[in-house]
Assembly symmetry: D2
Homo-oligomer: 303 residues x 4
């Protein structure tokens, strides 16, 4: 068995030598300003040990990765009823496409594209105030990570609101199809805030432990639901690059536009990787490369 | 030459006997409540005479028909620059489709579908307050009609705002593509108000005189622009039923979801017809039938 | 009234000075080889006089312009039944798009896009041999033109067959939706042949006389059908550039990829223009420019 | 550990009691005539043992399941070059959609939708005669299954050709985009023949052994390629129902319109299930239900 610490150290070195950083997200100034040279990787194994390399102490905007946590919460609140409002098929489209939404009468393809995550957020809201729903989300994430030091970056949330016309379009479109129980403004306020949660890769890997499905891990959802969350991360977790990620990396994962990826090796490990530059699908370029090499060298592909 | 008054009288009688009224628009209560049995037709001929039959004194919500007036104003303000922001091709889609907007990067196909009319409204707004732009629009319409008794129904405008999620989606989508200079809320506030103008068919036919292109008619735009507004009404004036309207009626026209249609016989007449029930394209059912018979009997097809 | 001969002469001179020739169709060698410098325009007025300028004696491949003649024949054979198989709405798509066909279950939007013309050709075929149907088509065109010297270019037809994969795709797709009564091979054999008819602009203008709707013109279809063919040419005759043509030229017209356009001034004239270079919609660039100027100077817009 | 034989026996009994059989494919008479009551399941475990229940001796048309074998062969012949001609993303569309093909310029989304499998077949053909390519395919399948008694049903192949307009449309469309090196007729002749291979579930499960990735299994492709074939089966193996299959069944699988499914439990087992009735995605209804229960009870989900 190869030594995990050695591999992580090598991946970190290799990432820093990689001339191709990808493109840092630029739609809001807070993301555009992030230093693209940064790279971090943290792995929690089933024995609870944390292995890591690189900038694992730097907090970054997890963005869409929170969709995994909000989906877990929404399923806890609504159960399989949720699937009447959102599908679980890969979308074959960009993350923010509105075309499919029109063709499918306002039912988003899955909870990991923006439209689907807006519906999930609405389900988490229920008839509560955004403040209460956000308190539940942040509590869930902190419990999962075993850390109280996880916060929402209000400046990022405000920026998303100011530049979020496409998400407003999606939310109003969902409302036009009676697929929101709260107003678009209220749902998006909540949505932009939970996407603005910041974590280090150390925290994010720890927060992913509940999806490992191993003893001594935080038990936040049932084993059956763990399997299904992982299945959905595999088929839909990387937008229109999900097939490629499954093919090359071979494990469930969810990316965020901030350059983070949370990936799960069922029964064995939770991995958080971060590097701000994105590939053409909007997923971390160097993060994906590192994961592909890590799963190959560790024999961690699920296939 | 057949007698126009006789024909209009017969069309009115026939419309009242037509068992198929179509479907009255039901997305806002103010439209849903309108008595579907009503029918009115008014014709202004090039000699300035007004001929009419039916409920020509009843004011109705002109809705999308105002897009003709706002387009005329927008072209007056922006000139051909406007065409960089909106196309002039038939859409081949429903009036409120968002699909095409995504495929064509936020440039609506033409100014008569909702997305295009929102852009046109933004051009009319410029950097003015909505109140000022609305004052110009209402002034234009009153001048065209030669009547000061034309008003905006504030209740309808408020209802449109409350139920207008699809239009909010379109506006935010346009903003996401940098095709709005004002905020979606400001543009839609103006849009919903000018769509809520109410007129009788008598007023609407009179308001259409400037498009006849005949001497002694109000001269609000140049002859060249008259031709082009008429051309656009012919190819795009009835959404996805424009080809059918051209084929059966054979003259330029613009319909509104309130059941009105303004149609122009170049050099000869302006026609306003109204009956609230709509056909499957969202255009007045009995209004279209009456126009088809009128143009046939009068030899008014332009083809 | 301006002098028509003078204008045509000036248009010819202007076209020859126009540095922008557009792009000659290159999908088959026979079209790719045509000298792009050529230009011709012929006009038949309601008094039967032929006015012309440029290379009006050179025969060119009329291609999609034959769709007007085959539609006239198909309507004569099938009547309004034809509209159950093909629509009459502008397509909002490229001439050879297959997308819309799938979305609308194999019913083409109109008879002037390729898919629609393939259905029309199938209707002309009926249960006859291609040879018989082609004989009727060529007979119709010769009668319309008053000339026996109009022929099919067999080399062009063969080339179309060899390079016609997209049309084969469309035909098989129509067959899959039970919208062909003959085999795709048989229908396309006929289709490629009638598209390969060659005419001079003089012949084509003469062939368009039956659409003028004036006394002393060949009476090949009823006045009601003339109006409807013209309406369809206006809304659908230039593919995804139909709105632009209506806006700028203002009369019904049908273009072909060979660079020809047949345009009709109802009650007044039939115009044939030809110049091989195409604009981005696949319609003759210099031909369209010449028509725009001609209708403006002659006051021939129908709007 | 539950007893596999007992479970299979119970699944068989349960399937026969299931009132909902789904819909048998009816596009060709040979499939429409199959008795929908039939059900069979066969499992080969990593120790080489074959466990089965139901009609496991009845041969059925494997149809699209052969796409797994032809993809393996095509990758062997072309290597990663194949991915320049076909993608590896879920399609988000029906198996025979042509829309996406137009939007993506003739590059099919993945090798398991029809368009992609036609490209794969073309790659297997190379510049050989169809007979030679088919010999290789049948040899590969027989070697994998360890049985010489596997054949092509010529009647089915002929029927597919006769009713295959949609596949002809796809093939011509691919040819129009220069994505076929052989003629559509030649490629489809080969395609229809390999889809017409017939196997029993016993043979099919045995043929799937090379994808188990365990010692003592036939070694037909490299371990790296095994992982990637499995990844692709998971994300794309059930058309537009792939997400649902991953979510509910949790292992890689490939379905065929004949009602068969080949599913792989990496490192542990190959499963073939068959029941002719299909669900709305075109995948075996009772087969999917049986697999969902089997993986749950055996703990075989990969997630």
């Amino acid at each position: 068995m190869p030594n995990l610490d050695t591999i992580l150290h090598q991946l970190d070195q290799k990432a820093r030598l990689d001339a191709d950083w990808g493109q840092v997200a630029s739609y809001i100034p807070q993301l555009a300003r992030v230093d693209p040279a940064q790279f971090a990787i943290s792995v929690v194994t089933a024995d609870g040990q944390l292995h890591q390399a690189g900038d694992h102490g730097v907090a970054f905007s997890v963005q869409s990765i929170t969709k995994v946590f909000t989906l877990a919460i929404a399923l806890g609140r609504s159960g399989d009823q949720l699937w009447t409002r959102v599908g679980r098929e890969p979308s074959g489209r960009a993350f923010n496409s509105i075309v499919q939404l029109e063709q499918e009468n306002g039912r988003p393809r899955n909870p990991f594209i923006n439209a689907g995550a807006i519906v999930t957020t609405d389900a988490v809201l229920g008839n509560r105030a955004p403040r209460e729903a956000l308190a539940e989300i942040i509590h869930f994430v902190r419990s999962a990570a075993g850390s109280g030091d996880i916060h929402i970056n209000e400046t990022v949330a405000a920026s998303e609101t100011a530049y979020g016309h496409r998400n407003f379009a999606l939310a109003h479109f969902l409302a036009a199809h009676d697929n929101l129980t709260n107003s678009p403004d209220k749902v998006l306020g909540t949505y932009f805030h939970h996407c603005a949660i910041e974590m280090t890769t150390a925290q994010l890997a720890m927060a992913g432990r509940f999806l490992i499905h191993a003893p001594n891990m935080p038990r936040l959802v049932s084993p059956r639901r763990i399997r299904r969350l992982n299945a959905m991360m595999l088929t839909c977790g990387h937008y229109d690059g999900s097939g490629d990620f499954a093919y090359r990396v071979g494990i469930p994962g969810k990316s965020g536009v901030g350059g983070g990826i949370l990936a799960i090796v069922p029964h064995q490990a939770a991995i958080a990787v971060w590097s701000p530059g994105l590939n053409r699908y909007g997923n971390s370029h160097r993060g994906t490369e590192a994961l592909a090499e890590l799963t190959t060298r560790m024999g961690w592909s699920i296939f």
